[in-house]
């Protein structure tokens, strides 16, 4: 029986100067790399495969399998690219991880690179987090000086170096092929697949694109063994993950736990709902995953259970909204986001999100028309599965799930503005001065 919470990557985030090499080494840092260098690269891939770890960036594809799908070595370069473009609304695990414990990622990159035959790895960090960028640059510098990176890693003649690359503000660059285009100095637009990055990725060479948390979990698997990893979580969702609670809970925060913990347990750990109010809806894995309600509180938060209940585990971005919140307003804002971030490459997403936004905004304003709900669902149906990448699909998730659970609120949007039904002042987390005239704040009018 595993404990409710299992601090591993978060274990020493409270150390003063938790981000330095000295602190990391004091907590067994780089021991896994030393061990890995005594192993054959294939043995590392086998260990990661055997751990059954599934990607922590949302899609849940088995990491070891991704590595073994790469085209076989042909003497040319092979690349590891870490996706550190954490931008999915609600997702806030990789950024604090890299701020507090960047060396766990650097060690993971060194081991993973050695395993797949990569000599030059990249960390693609979103550009809007300058202090995290400083920490990563510093960590690479320290690791290089200590011989954990460079031309002769660990004195074994292994070559691994890392370039930490800052993006410039584009959600779509979290999509792995758009990320690669961006890293090649282009507009971040997704590529047609196949070929998959494992065959033709960065500079058309075999490439593995992996999430920060996935790679940071590799040292533990090497040092403690895949059985240790499999000893946590469920049979098909092994191991641990960072669960991020935000919104209307008493104490939002990060919780590192075996996969399969429930939302009921997590909300309790977070001190319950704010002011004892009632839960209305929540996202299991960010805004791109269909919303859940109170009836899903006991769904084990693992890949398969969440999928069976009609959503996706995604990035374990648990955004909690209480009874004061208009689901129409929440969904309208997410729709603004997808319309803003649509890269424009494919028609269903570019045009579809634009129309979804028009309709959601008028329903929020109480100016919806009789056939707007059907129109929304119909447009979603024309985007889902027909867009070039997952962004279009994602844009439909909040809408179709919200219509499913809260259709009456969309119907109310034909006559009554959301801010009248659910005064926004009641949802805010700070004390407001003496009641002023209720003024709905504007939607995202320009972006």
């Amino acid at each position: 029986m595993t404990d409710t919470l299992t601090p591993i990557l978060t274990k020493f985030w409270d150390d003063p100067q938790s981000w330095t090499l000295a602190t990391y080494e004091r907590h067994d840092g780089y021991k896994a790399l030393t061990r890995a260098l005594t192993m054959e690269p294939q043995a590392i891939i086998d260990a990661v495969k055997d751990s059954s770890i599934r990607g922590r960036g949302g899609a849940g594809f088995p990491t070891g399998m991704k590595w073994s799908f790469m085209s076989p070595p042909d003497g040319g370069p092979r690349y590891l690219v870490v996706n550190a473009d954490e931008s999915e609304p609600g997702t806030c695990k990789d950024i604090p991880l890299m701020m507090a414990n960047p060396h766990s990622l650097i060690e993971g990159v060194a081991i993973s690179s050695y395993a797949i035959g990569c000599e030059h790895a990249f960390i693609y960090l979103r550009g809007e987090v300058v202090h995290v960028y400083r920490r990563l640059l510093r960590a690479v510098e320290e690791a290089r000086a200590a011989g954990y990176l460079g031309d002769n890693v660990g004195g074994k003649g292994v070559k691994v170096d890392i370039t930490v690359h800052a993006g410039a503000g584009a959600y779509i660059c979290g999509e792995e092929t758009a990320l690669l285009d961006s890293l090649e100095g282009r507009r971040g637009q997704p590529r047609l697949k196949p070929p998959f990055p494992g065959a033709a990725g960065l500079y058309a060479r075999p490439t593995s694109v992996n999430n920060v948390e996935s790679i940071a979990s590799v040292p533990g698997i090497i040092l403690e063994g895949s059985d240790w990893f499999k000893g946590m979580g469920t049979e098909k969702s092994t191991g641990f993950g960072i669960f991020s609670l935000s919104g209307h809970v008493t104490n939002p925060g990060q919780f590192e736990a075996p996969l399969g913990i429930t939302m009921r347990e997590l909300i309790e750990l977070a001190g319950g709902m704010r002011g004892g109010r009632k839960l209305k809806f929540w996202t299991p894995g960010g805004s791109s995953t269909p919303i859940f309600t109170e009836e899903h509180l006991d769904v084990p938060l693992d890949f398969d259970s969440v999928a069976a209940a009609g959503s996706m585990l995604g990035t374990r971005a648990l955004q909690v909204f209480d009874e004061t919140v208009s689901v129409v307003r929440a969904v309208a804002r997410w729709t603004d986001f997808y319309a803003h971030e649509s890269c424009g490459k494919c028609t269903p997403c570019r045009e579809g999100t634009w129309w979804l936004r028009q309709i959601m905004n008028r329903i929020e304003a109480g100016e919806g028309t009789q056939d707007d709900i059907d129109k929304l669902v119909d447009i979603c149906d024309n985007i889902l599965g027909r867009s070039f990448c997952a962004l279009g699909d994602a844009a439909t998730s909040p809408i179709t799930s919200a219509v499913k659970y809260f259709r009456e609120e969309f119907e109310a949007g034909m006559t009554t503005p959301a801010h009248e039904l659910f005064p926004p002042e009641k949802s805010v987390l700070f004390e407001l001065p003496a009641p002023t005239t209720s003024k709905e704040s504007s939607g995202m009018v320009s972006a």
């Binding site: 409270d14 701020m99 400083r134």
Partner: protein, 261 residues
């Protein structure tokens, strides 16, 4: 002069075409060579180079586009096509401090909308507009990966957690007054837009060791685990990545790492 419209075009004023002076140009070339050397193919240097020209001009000026095109062997159209795709590249002169209020769903509902409205009213500018003194550019920003600290405001891409309308108004007032302002999680002070742009081009400013490792929300689960003596199971290394506590027992032993109380 609240008045730049966000038309989506790269605004190229005549003055933005004025050539760099010799010294600046020489330094840009040295820096650009360093950036290019980080990549197997030089076009990959374009994003950091656009951050770099912003560190000189405060936005992507026409001459910045020309410079990037020249050193990378691209056309100006190719460079502009990239510069206009990403929101961090400014198409007109930016203020010394970009203050971005998160108005994505979660932060908006937790108070971000109200904060944006109040700050906008206070400064007399809207989204993507700059105060007349050239100090503050106000923006609505998308989710910045700090939802457990909602509502969140970013100042030159440093975190200001758990904001209120009053705290953010205080922030912009201090920035306008030229005071050093300390982010909640970040460097000891908010650097200027140009300084931060240089860091984003990959040139460290020596501030990595400043500030905290983690804020209280990031540490919440860890603190609760310590209070309960919850630890990860023991692994093959014996000392365990997770802990040194016995793993098989139902009630985990609270070991030396239990820092609670």
């Amino acid at each position: 002069m609240a008045g730049h419209d966000a038309s989506g075009h790269l605004h190229v004023s005549a003055e933005s075409k004025a050539p760099y002076d010799e010294e600046t140009l020489a330094r840009l070339h040295v820096d650009a060579a360093e950036v290019i050397s980080r990549y197997p193919q030089k076009r990959s240097a374009l994003l950091p180079l656009l951050h770099l020209v912003q560190s000189v001009d405060g936005y992507v000026a026409g001459r910045g586009v020309s410079f990037c095109a020249e050193v990378l062997g691209l056309t100006e159209a190719e460079v502009s096509g990239v510069a206009t795709f990403y929101t961090q590249y400014k198409r007109h002169p930016n203020g010394d401090y970009t203050v971005g209020v998160c108005t994505n769903t979660l932060c908006a509902i937790m108070g971000g909308d109200l904060i944006f409205d109040r700050v906008s009213e206070h400064l007399g500018i809207g989204h993507d507009e700059t105060t007349e003194d050239g100090k503050i550019t106000l923006e609505r920003v998308e989710c910045n990966a700090a939802c457990d600290y909602a509502p969140v405001v970013m100042a030159n891409w440093e975190f200001f957690d758990n904001q209120t309308p009053e705290s953010t108004i205080g922030l912009v007032d201090e920035l306008r007054a030229g005071a050093d302002v300390r982010p909640t999680r970040g460097a000891d002070k908010v650097c200027t837009f140009k300084e931060v742009s240089r860091v984003l081009a990959g040139f460290p400013d020596g501030r990595a060791d400043e500030g905290v490792g983690a804020g209280p929300a990031s540490l919440l689960g860890l603190r609760i685990a310590k209070d309960h003596g919850w630890v990860a199971p023991e692994g093959a290394s014996g000392s365990s990545n997770g802990s040194s506590a016995a793993s098989s027992s139902l009630t985990s032993t609270s070991d030396g790492k239990d820092g609670s109380k």
